[in-house]
Amino acid sequence: MNGPAPVVPVRGGRFRRWALAWVLLWVLIPSGSPAAGRDILFWAPYAPGSPEQAAGALEEFARLVEQAAGWPQGSISAVYRNKVDEGLSALQELDPGFVLVPIPVHLRYNESLGWTPVRAAVLAGVEAQRYSLYGPAGSSVDWLSDVTIEGDAAYDPVFVRTLVLGGKYPVADDRFRPTSRPLSAVRRAARGEKVVVLLDEGQRRALASLPAAAELVLLAESDWMPAAVLVSRAGATEADVQQLGRVLDGLGTDPTATDLLATLRIQRFEAVDPRAIKKLQRIYSATEPPPPQADR
């Protein structure tokens, strides 16, 4: 027999054939997606806090997820963007495999960017999301064409017109003023200024504790919907999607994780109801087509 002696005893040529097969399998089947494919972008336009403020908690979140998933340390990162354009840029530049977005953002970009919902996020303090429009006492929805609509979700007029106003009140785009400080709009509306404030469910509940609540009247409200969804993008492998889903499901029962999630204002992750999302998407897309955007 020519060549170097085998290091381990072999029976005939079977060992070498198996070894070759293993090597081929090792090379041909990806051992895991590239690290960038597992990154998570938290993108919530006009949400409070800055990316710098959120950095510490997100870093901890990333470490927790990779540890729970059994992924190599430092293999994923999590970043936060709270502006529309910064979020779009981050999609291009960071190329994350996963994005956590509030439902209006999902409805707006889902079709154009080809996202697949992985899990729904239940926010702290509210089991489900609902958006409401409050105007000064004595006002009504007929008043909407003449006022500004302010709130953090006001960055998407289509969402407000379709899902909050039911497509019945065609308020012009230029009447919408997105803001990360809706409390000031609440105060102005309570003083009787021509302002209608768009509140999410947490803000609506917080409103009840303010004296200004007595000076406001509910004009319209959306149906209940998931608050936010974690979606996977084209770069994420199916194995990673499955693994991340399992990890997120387990976070709600781990005391350390729930504490960390609480700092991100998230209560837990749960399975997505695809029919509910489809229904929302149908309403959203029925009257107005989503703005054209290119992902990559």
Binding site: G49, G125, P182, L183, V186, Q203, R204, L207, S209, R265
Partner: protein, 904 residues
């Protein structure tokens, strides 16, 4: 064969009644002698439970280490709740009483009423929470210190700016409170104090001097007054805990112990007319419960005796017969007592109720016999004939009924809980001996009595009973239909009946010990409900304490580690870093105190600006609590700024004086902090003796206390608490664990015993009747009667408890008795004799049930709620079985006969 044996026996009895009576009397005398010489009454609750569980073994170990945990608690309160009482009056009362009780070494081991707090004042920084220490370090040490080296703290304005800086830094990290607890509580306290200061500077500074956070930090256990006395959270009650010298619930020890305590309280109270005191805790509860039971037993026994006698006089056509039945019963009970003396030798708290049970059940056997005897006489038979016929007709039913009842009781002997197992034996043997007395002594007495004087029967009554029987049997379909509907409705209601484990709910509602126990629970953390785990060393203790907070139902936990911080070394290092910084903090002398209103206003404006940012953040993220707090903060700032803007010169002078007081307080505080920072970590020997004796055992083992988060009397709270405690350690013990174990033993055992008892009873009925249909029909009144009883309980809001569980086998016995008698007579008389069955046997069942209802129902008048509930349940149960056996069963038999084509 049974019938021929009974007939032979009856013939013998009629021939020689005197011999049988003489034998009965001899046996009675023998039994009474035996009872008076050898039968003990054991009032202790120990040894009532059954097999030795781990929790009990651990509890014994705990008692060995720490003595009895069943403290007598003295609660001192104002004589008039509206009167203010000075702390020194309370202190004098408690000190005086403690001295008197400590002298009573026969009864009390240790008296615990005060913790020496000097230790915590000296070493407070070792007990401060980690966040406080971290914040102190952030404020004083390092390049980012909020109060860098050399800063001068001149007063309120500086404090406001410090807060504003701290919050701004927190906001930059995403949380206004810099990540500590996401609450503005600290900021609000400072602002509230500031508003108070601007209104009344002297009072505000005095409040600061009174409120020492280090006193609170050191005592994670019970609420304490400033000088370490155990108090309620509002300071209106002072507590003294006296540890009994023996861990026993024997009344021979408990009664004088409580009496001694009451006597000493009366002595001290005479010198302090503004205060009064009462006792609670396990010894007081036991003593009060037993006193109530004794009182109630006397009253209810007299009522029951008079009621049963009156009923017998009214029911029997010859009034002379009633004393004969009662005399026979008394003999049966005496024989039972003799048998108990031979077999067990003592009566426990549970088995001592056997006489009441036997009176209730035993009299029934005599009623059946006498009732038939009267009918036989009325039908013109001679006394010997009437007696022979009565024994022949009622004997099989009596044997079956008593046999099944005894079997139902004997199955209770299988219970692990020894107290009830003994009751099963006592009641079972008692029922058989009472039956024996009714089949021997009573016929003998009747024979002797009848031979001398034969009165005339009251025929009109018999006729009235016959007419009533006919009326009942005229509408069998309607009666069965109504019965079915009632059963369905009550079955739905029966599902609401629960088992109440709370032993305190058994006591009389107005009991003093109960009122004080509630007050103790509501106003202090001195809960009598605690679990304990023993640890051999500090490592094990630390591991157990780590595991405890994860359980939701566990509220407070306490161990030596609360007083010996595990991170003492780390804290010492922090203190070492703080020390030079503290030395460098400079506070001006009070004489130099200035308070510039404009500067204070500007500092408040700075704080306001930050709070507006916080409010925005809180609203945007939907955090209502934080939003509310920031709104409150802004309101307080408005008030403070308004006070500054509208201040008169006199105010400004007062502020200046107040600021001087504040600086003086601040200088003293800084001095204390510097001293504290220089102290070495606390050791076990440094701890106050009162804490050491509570947390370290006699052999050096350590104790972890676990207190429940919720009131354990709430449904499911006990089960959840014990389950969570067991997650911490299997070796957990303590009053709630033992209560849970014993309740489980009792309930589980009862369920098993009842099922087995019911199966065996059905088996006996099958053997007796040899026809499954008849056996089932005999059992029917019991099954339906039990459903009705549970339904009535549901309507009346009654629950099962430790005291009234025994009612269920009693009802089983009564119901089966009724069913067996009815069916036996039905077998004897056939379909055409249904009126006779109902008239003769139904009458006997009516009388016997009424005697039972009066006997047991009298318990419903007891002040002891356990006894009262048992009386009510038995009343409902016996009444239900009476209706089902005398109305439902005959009508059902009539309907079944009609279906088979039998002539009506």
């Amino acid at each position: 064969m049974r019938r021929s044996l009974l007939a032979w026996y009856a013939r013998c009895l009629v021939r020689r009644p005197g011999w049988i009576l003489a034998a009965g009397i001899a046996l009675t005398i023998g039994s009474l002698l035996l009872v008076s010489l050898r039968l003990e009454l054991r009032t202790s609750r120990e040894n009532l439970s059954g097999s030795f569980h781990q929790a009990e073994a651990e509890f014994d170990a705990f008692v060995k280490e720490f003595g009895s945990p069943h403290y007598l608690v003295v609660v001192v309160e104002p004589a008039d709740p509206s009167d203010p009482v000075q702390p020194e009056d309370y202190r004098a009362f408690v000190d005086g009483l403690a001295a008197l009780l400590e002298a009573e070494t026969e009864y009390f081991d240790e008296v615990f009423y005060r913790v020496d707090l000097q230790h915590f004042l000296d070493l407070g920084l070792y007990y401060a929470d980690r966040d406080t220490l971290r914040q102190a370090e952030e404020a004083l040490v390092g390049p980012d210190a909020l109060l860098p080296d050399g800063s001068r703290l001149l007063g309120l304005a500086d404090a406001n700016r410090l807060l504003a800086r701290k919050m701004r830094r927190g906001l930059a990290q995403g949380e206004p409170s810099a990540g500590s607890d996401a609450s503005l509580g600290g900021v609000l306290s400072v602002l509230r104090w500031q508003v108070r200061f601007l209104a009344d500077p002297e009072a505000a500074v005095a409040q600061l001097q009174d409120d020492d956070p280090f006193l609170r930090m050191g005592t994670s256990g019970p609420a304490l007054s400033r000088d370490g006395y155990l108090t309620s959270s509002d300071g209106r009650h002072y507590f003294l805990l006296a540890q009994p010298a023996r861990n026993t619930s024997s009344l021979d020890f408990i009664r004088p112990l409580v009496a001694t305590a009451r006597d000493k309280i009366a002595q001290v109270a005479a010198q302090h007319p503004g205060l009064q005191a009462g006792v609670t805790g396990t010894p007081a509860l036991i003593q009060e419960e037993m006193a109530a039971i004794r009182r109630d037993s006397l009253v209810t026994t007299v009522l029951a005796g008079v009621g049963v006698m009156l009923l017998c006089f009214l029911a029997f056509h010859r009034v002379r017969l009633a004393p004969l039945v009662l005399l026979s019963l008394a003999m049966g009970v005496s024989w039972s007592a003799g048998a108990i003396t031979l077999a067990i030798g003592y009566l426990s708290l549970i088995t001592s109720s056997f006489a009441v049970i036997l009176i209730g059940l035993g009299v029934d056997y005599g009623v059946h016999l006498v009732s038939q005897y009267e009918i036989e006489l009325a039908e013109g038979r001679t006394v010997p004939e009437a007696l022979q016929n009565s024994i022949g007709k009622t004997g099989p039913g009596l044997l079956t009924g008593a046999g099944t009842t005894a079997v139902a009781f004997f199955t209770i002997m299988l219970m692990e809980f020894r107290g009830f197992a003994q009751l099963g034996f006592v009641a079972g043997i008692g029922v058989l001996l009472c039956l024996l007395a009714m089949l021997t002594v009573l016929p003998a007495l009747l024979a002797l009595d009848g031979a001398r004087r034969l009165g005339k029967p009251r025929r009109h009554r018999l006729e009235r009973g016959r007419r009533l029987s006919l009326a009942i049997l005229r509408y069998p379909r309607a009666v069965v239909a109504v019965g079915l509907v009632v059963t369905l409705v009550l079955a739905l209601k029966a599902r609401e009946v629960r088992y109440n484990e709370n032993l305190e709910d058994l006591l009389p509602a107005g009991a003093e010990s109960l009122r004080l126990q509630d007050s103790l629970r509501d106003s202090s953390s001195l809960s009598p409900d605690f679990s304990v785990i023993l640890a051999d060393d500090l490592e094990e203790l630390a591991r157990l304490q780590q595991a405890a907070p994860n359980a939701a139902s566990i509220g407070r936990r306490e161990s030596l580690l609360d007083y010996l911080p595990a991170d003492a070394g780390e804290r010492q290092a922090v203190l070492a870093r703080l020390r030079p910084a503290l030395d460098r903090v400079r506070l001006p002398l009070p004489a130099a105190a200035e308070l510039a209103p404009a500067d204070l206003d500007a500092s408040l404006a700075e704080l306001e600006e930050v709070l507006i940012e916080v409010e925005d953040l809180a609203f945007s993220s939907g955090r209502a609590a934080l939003l509310g707090e920031s709104g409150q903060g802004l309101d307080l700032i408005q008030q403070a700024r308004h006070a500054i803007a509208s201040a008169q010169p006199a105010h400004q002078q007062a502020w200046k004086r107040g600021n001087a007081g504040l600086l003086q307080w601040g200088r003293e505080w800084m001095e204390r902090l510097r001293r504290m920072a220089a102290e070495p970590p606390p050791t076990l020997e440094d701890l106050p003796q009162a804490l050491q004796s509570r947390l370290v055992g006699r052999s050096g083992r350590y104790l972890l206390y676990l207190y429940p988060q919720e009131d354990l009397t709430l449904p499911d709270a006990l089960r959840t608490f014990v389950a969570d405690c067991r997650k911490v350690s299997d070796a957990v013990t303590g009053p709630p664990v033992l209560l849970y174990e014993h309740s489980g033993q009792i309930r589980g055992g009862f369920n098993q015993a009842l099922i087995l008892g019911a199966v065996l009873a059905l088996g006996i009925l099958l053997l007796d009747f040899r026809r499954p249909g008849y056996a089932l029909l005999a059992a029917l009144p019991t099954a339906v009667g039990l459903i009705w009883m549970l339904g009535w309980m549901g309507w009346a809001g009654l629950e099962f408890n430790l005291a009234n569980l025994i009612a269920v086998p009693l009802i089983l016995g009564v119901g089966i008795d009724n069913g067996a008698h009815m069916m036996h007579r039905f077998v004897q008389e056939g379909h055409q004799g249904m009126t006779v069955v109902l008239h003769h046997t139904g009458r006997a069942i009516l009388i016997s049930s009424l005697t039972t209802m009066i006997g047991f129902g009298s318990l419903a008048l007891a002040s002891h709620r356990g006894m009262a509930s048992m009386g009510l349940i038995l009343f409902f149960g016996v009444a239900s079985c009476l209706i089902t056996s005398t109305l439902l069963l005959p009508c059902l038999l009539r309907l079944l006969a009609a279906r088979r084509g039998a002539p009506s």
